[in-house]
Each structure stands twice: as structure tokens, then as C-alpha cells.
Symmetry: D2
Subunit: 154 residues, 4 copies
Amino acid sequence: MRRVVAVIGGTEIEAEVDAAAERVGALLAKEDAIVVTGGRGGVAEAASRGASLNGGTTVGILPGRERSEANPWVEIAIPTGMGETRNALVVMDADAVIAFPGAYGTLIELGFALHNGLRVVIVGDWPLAVGATVQHATSPEEAVEFALASTSTR
Amino acid sequence: MRRVVAVIGGTEIEAEVDAAAERVGALLAKEDAIVVTGGRGGVAEAASRGASLNGGTTVGILPGRERSEANPWVEIAIPTGMGETRNALVVMDADAVIAFPGAYGTLIELGFALHNGLRVVIVGDWPLAVGATVQHATSPEEAVEFALASTSTR
Amino acid sequence: MRRVVAVIGGTEIEAEVDAAAERVGALLAKEDAIVVTGGRGGVAEAASRGASLNGGTTVGILPGRERSEANPWVEIAIPTGMGETRNALVVMDADAVIAFPGAYGTLIELGFALHNGLRVVIVGDWPLAVGATVQHATSPEEAVEFALASTSTR
Amino acid sequence: MRRVVAVIGGTEIEAEVDAAAERVGALLAKEDAIVVTGGRGGVAEAASRGASLNGGTTVGILPGRERSEANPWVEIAIPTGMGETRNALVVMDADAVIAFPGAYGTLIELGFALHNGLRVVIVGDWPLAVGATVQHATSPEEAVEFALASTSTR
């Protein structure tokens, strides 16, 4: 089975974060990992763009009820109609989660990821201490390396 | 955007239904439609097998929390941890639904599909009258033709 | 633990059905059973009104995110933000379900109730054959009698 | 409409926290506020006990599919079958949330509460910085005062 990595983070992001998230998506695609996001703007869109432009598979778990809500780089759009409650599904069973700074929506996903025992890699300066066994990466390369390290294909 | 067709039906099925569901999956793959199922056995597995063996994309919306629960023909496994409540997601926004006879789980999906105004095609003898604007197909070919008829790519 | 009975049915109903659903709610309250509904109009409102006016406890499992969405007879409003997917929760674990004729939303709830093995009592002329082990009641009194028959308090 | 306050926190707690959570439940009951919890052990049970013993109404939003999963002080048990995803529902639309220290499950609920703009009061020493507009209370009395302050009955 191909590896799955969730990429999460804010919906309104700066150019620097956009570039880093796109790079993360590109690197994951080159490793043949499936990229799962919340399917909309910001980090989700940047990571999906990076993966899609490099031949990767992108999945978007959407808050609303319609596929058309997904950003254009999402290949597989999964409408849920559950609003932010769908954040639980974004990180339910990935091999790892790469998190860029975000707001409470991202905090929720981080909480679910940690609760589920997923490998969590944070890129950049996370504003909230989660006091947890997370790894901190200083570059997209390091983030993907940490995310896929010793992650056997399952 | 590629068309999406949900294929639903029982989990314990006879060889004839298995063959027909596999054929439906194969035909959908040839039309480049994404095949969405509940991701486990029976009709879901047969349709996914047919699609996968013909180069199609298969999505499985799973009741449990782990990707490993999916049948081996599911390419994109979406764990939900919601049990049968996830049936709502299987048919939330597809271009059409092709339904083989099934039990109450299938009835639930049919109810959601009709509620959402999806095009519904029933193959074979459905035991429950749903008194609805469904189409009845007598073969896999007819089912796929009905499902994709006038369904513009969106 | 007090018994719990879900009362389901259409949101746009005729006066006769409204009166019967209100009577069902009243009878359930007199039996000290908790009345669970979808929390909004039609049968849900009539049953809640009947229960509330007779000192009963009424629970409404709401499709939206705000308690204010509930009809005024709902004492305990549970917002879900899940839309019709919340129908699964309305009938997840009641001692019985009393169903008045409704549309696809009611069909979904009936499917979940039957899937979960709940005791199902249908009042009036149900338009859809569910081919199932349901009981048919011809009056509110009979519906409540069937619903609570041999239902030990648990 | 009666006010609703969610009380959240760990499932394995020390005697001191148990006593404080029970006191919070008691005080909320005396203010006629409905107490909503996750319905199981720890803080949820202590707060429900305190409310129930003082004539209050207690609601438990359960992770599993059966009412019997609730602790004995829950009057209205709402099974969801959604596991930890149900944490979103516990804090979807309360007038306020009172949070005792907990693990990731509590972090998730706090994230949802903050995302939804609820008034959040933290009692005791929260191990995770949420960097947010929360209030910190040093006693059950203060927690309830903060939670209900300027919360008009709606």
C-alpha cells in the first residue's frame, strides 16, 4: 500500500509558507506518497499543487457537501458535510502528519493526530506549545525526511 | 473534473452479482470515472476489482479507523471511524449511484442518494420499493450507460 | 435508566398527522419515556410538543450547528453540524422507533433503525415498502403500546 | 432557553480534580444550567455527579453506539458511534466551556471550542499553551462565575 501523509496548516498563509508547503507536496509526490489535506486554500492548496504538478495523488477531505469546493489541485475530493468536524478524518490514519502553523482548525487536527499516535512533524514556528512528542523540521526536505523515516510501506 | 460514480450493494453476494459488479467497475474505469464504494467486501470489492484491473481509480469510504480495513482493490482508503454513519459520505456528491441489491446498509445509502438528488440506477431485483425516481438497469452495460448519460464532466 | 423512544416522520405534515404525533409524544411522556427527534418541524415538533406539555423530556438531534435551530418544545438540543448525516444519531440506540410517513430523510432513519435492530413501529400508511420486520400501528395508543411492549427499562 | 455549559477534562484524574469538577457541576446545577460532557469517566463523571446530586440536567455525548456506555450520572445519553470525532459535538454550541487539565482528547475539544468562539474557562494548570483568549479560574466558584458571566439566557 502506498504511504499516506497528511499536510495541514493555515488557510491564509504568507508566500514563504506557500512555497514551503508546495515543496513538501512535491517531495512527497516524488516519494510516491499520497498527500491528504483539508482540500481547500492555504497550506492545503499549496501542498496539493506541489504534489499534483509532480504527478502525485492528492486527496481533499472537504468540510462541505460538494466536490466543487475543493481547490483545483485536489484529484480525489471527499465531501463530508461535517464542517470542521471533518478535521478528525484528515488525520485519522496517515503514516505521518506535516503541520505548518495555522489557527484553531490546525490545532484541532494536531490534537487528533497526537491522540491517534501519528508521527507529527512541525515545520516552522508553531505558536502553540503542544508539549508533545512532535518533531520540528527547519525545511521542507527535513519535514519529508522525518515524515517518511522508518515509515515502512503498509 | 473526472466523473464520480458510487457503486453500492450487499457485502455477501452471489457469484452472478459479483461478476456484474466487477463488470460495472471495469466499464466505469474505461470511461475514466472514479469509482467510490464503502471499501470492504461484496459489491464494493467486486466493483473496485473491476475498476482497478482496468486502470481505474478506486476510493473506499471505510467504517473503521484504519486504511488496512479496505479490500485490496481500493487505491484511496478513507477511514472515518463512523461505522454505518459513513454511508452518508459514500453517496454525498457523486454524479450517479449504481445500486445492487443489498441489506439495510444499502437502503441507507439509497435513502441518502435520493435525498441528495443523485441519479440512481438499480441493477437487478431490488427487494424494497423505494417508490422513487430511480432507473432500473438489466445489465452492467445499461447501468453504466444510465449512470453516465447526460452527466457532463464537472 | 429511562426508556428512550425516537419519533420520526416528515417535516411537512397534515393536521391529522400532527395531532397523532402530538398524541404519541403525550403518551410517551406519561410513560416517562424520553422522546428523541430530529429537533425541527413536522412530526418532530408535534411529538415534542405533546411530550413537553405533559411534563416529558424531549431531545432534539439537530442537523445544524446551533441550538436555536430547535423547535420550542425541545428541552435538550444537540447541535451536530452534520446535516442529514445526523439522522444516524437520532435512531442509534433507542428502545424503539415510532415512524410516521415521511420523505427520504425518514427513509434514511428507518434504514438506520432497522440496521441497528431497533424495534420499529410504523403509524399510518408508509409509502415505501421496507420489507422488514416492522410493526404497523393504527393509532397513537397502539404505536406507544407496541413501542414499549416488553421493553424493559434498561 | 436554559444555559448550557460543557465541562471537559481528563478521564483519569486525581482526587483533587475530581472534587473540583464535582463542585463545578453542583454550582452549574444550582444556576439551572444544563451540564454537557463526553459522558464517561474522570472529569465528565465528576461534573455529572455534582450536577445530578443537585437536581441538575446532565447530557453525555458518547463516543460509542450505546447509551449504557454513559456514567451513571448522565441523564440524557447521546450515542454517536464516532469515537473521539464526537468531541466536536461536545462543544459545538454551549454558552461556555469549563476545561480541567486533560490529554489530547481535551486539547481537541479546546480547539473546537476556541474555533467556535465559545467562552473558555480553564481551571488549574493547563499543560499546553493555547495562546488564546481563555480565562483562567483558580476555583470552581470562579470557573462557574466566569462561565456564566454576561451569558444571557438564550
